[in-house]
Amino acid sequence: MNAEATKLLAVAIAIGLGAIGPALGIGMIGSKAVEALGRNPEAESQIRTAMILSLAFAEAVAIYALVVALILKFT
């Protein structure tokens, strides 16, 4: 395995493993938000705000992995 192949593999592993956690987290946030909405439809705007915020926090982890992968790939 030469250096270039190792680098490509590192990129794939970085983003692949890094996306697992946020994917689970975003799925849970979405399901719980829909559940809360079903129980209490009047609170839609508050639920939406809280959901977008927690989505942003969960997604940030995936973005860190993505930035690492992009830096590995393009530098």
Binding site: S45, L53, E59, Y64, L66, F74
Partner: protein
């Protein structure tokens, strides 16, 4: 494969400062921002308002409602700076999607080699641009925290000697203030830069029709990221200005 650069490249130099491609597009958007602001403020007092005023007003009203649900009675004070964050990031994100941005190349000679680099680049796809926004946001949060609680009151949130656990939590809070800068920077940069890479790769693989759904996705991501940045600033601001409990 098309050439993708993770940092903004300099087009020419003025007095030793390098003018990068993201700075050029940023200046264009800045001019547009100023023009829209002038038109809008002129229309506020006019008796016959233009259609543009109503469209922009309804956008701002929607954002005002969102901020009001978090900040409550302080919304009036903070709305100008928060909505400026929102509109500025939105314009910068969308400007990066315009045709010609990233596809118009110019010849630049660097270290004796001739390079072809894009003339324009989205400002939020340059890490310096998002770092500047993150620094403004976090420093503003500290400044308003001190203004509302007083220096002693604000510092007592971080230095609490009542028991060892509180002391340790205060230490973690100091760290989290610094990690806010990092997470603000990389969240915006990562999303927008990843969008640009995605668009480039898709347009390279399937040039006809296939990039269109991704373009729509990027328009949506642009709105969501602008909203997330301003909403997170609002939430942190609200946490900083409220009394310790």
């Amino acid at each position: 494969m098309p050439e993708i650069s993770i940092k903004a490249e300099s087009i020419f130099h003025v007095l030793g400062f390098s003018i990068t491609n993201s700075l050029i597009l940023s200046a264009v958007v800045f001019t547009l921002f100023i023009i829209i602001a002038i038109l809008y403020t002129k229309d506020i007092s006019a008796s016959k308002k233009s259609g543009f005023f109503y469209i922009f007003n309804s956008l701002l009203q929607m954002v005002y409602g969102l901020f009001e649900s978090i900040l409550g009675k302080n919304t009036k004070l903070f709305f100008p700076v928060l909505s400026a964050f929102f509109v500025w990031i939105l314009f910068q994100n969308w400007a990066g999607l315009l045709p010609g941005v990233g596809s118009i190349l110019v010849k630049v000679e660097e270290h004796g080699r001739i390079l072809h680099i894009p003339l324009l680049r989205g400002n939020n796809a340059d890490i310096n641009g998002t770092l500047a926004l993150a620094l403004i946001s976090v420093i503003m949060i500290q400044a308003f925290g001190i203004k509302f609680l007083g220096l002693g009151g604000y510092l007592s949130k971080f230095f609490n000697f009542s028991n060892p656990i509180n002391f340790f939590v205060g230490f973690l809070d100091i760290l989290s203030e610094f990690s806010k800068i990092l997470s603000f920077t990389f969240r915006l940069f990562g999303n927008i830069f990843a969008g640009e890479v995605l668009m480039t790769i898709i347009a390279f693989l399937v040039p006809v029709l296939a990039p269109f759904p991704f373009l729509l996705l990027e328009v949506f991501v642009g709105i969501v990221q602008a909203l997330v940045f301003s909403l997170l600033t609002t939430v942190f601001l609200n946490m900083a200005i409220e009394k310790h409990h």
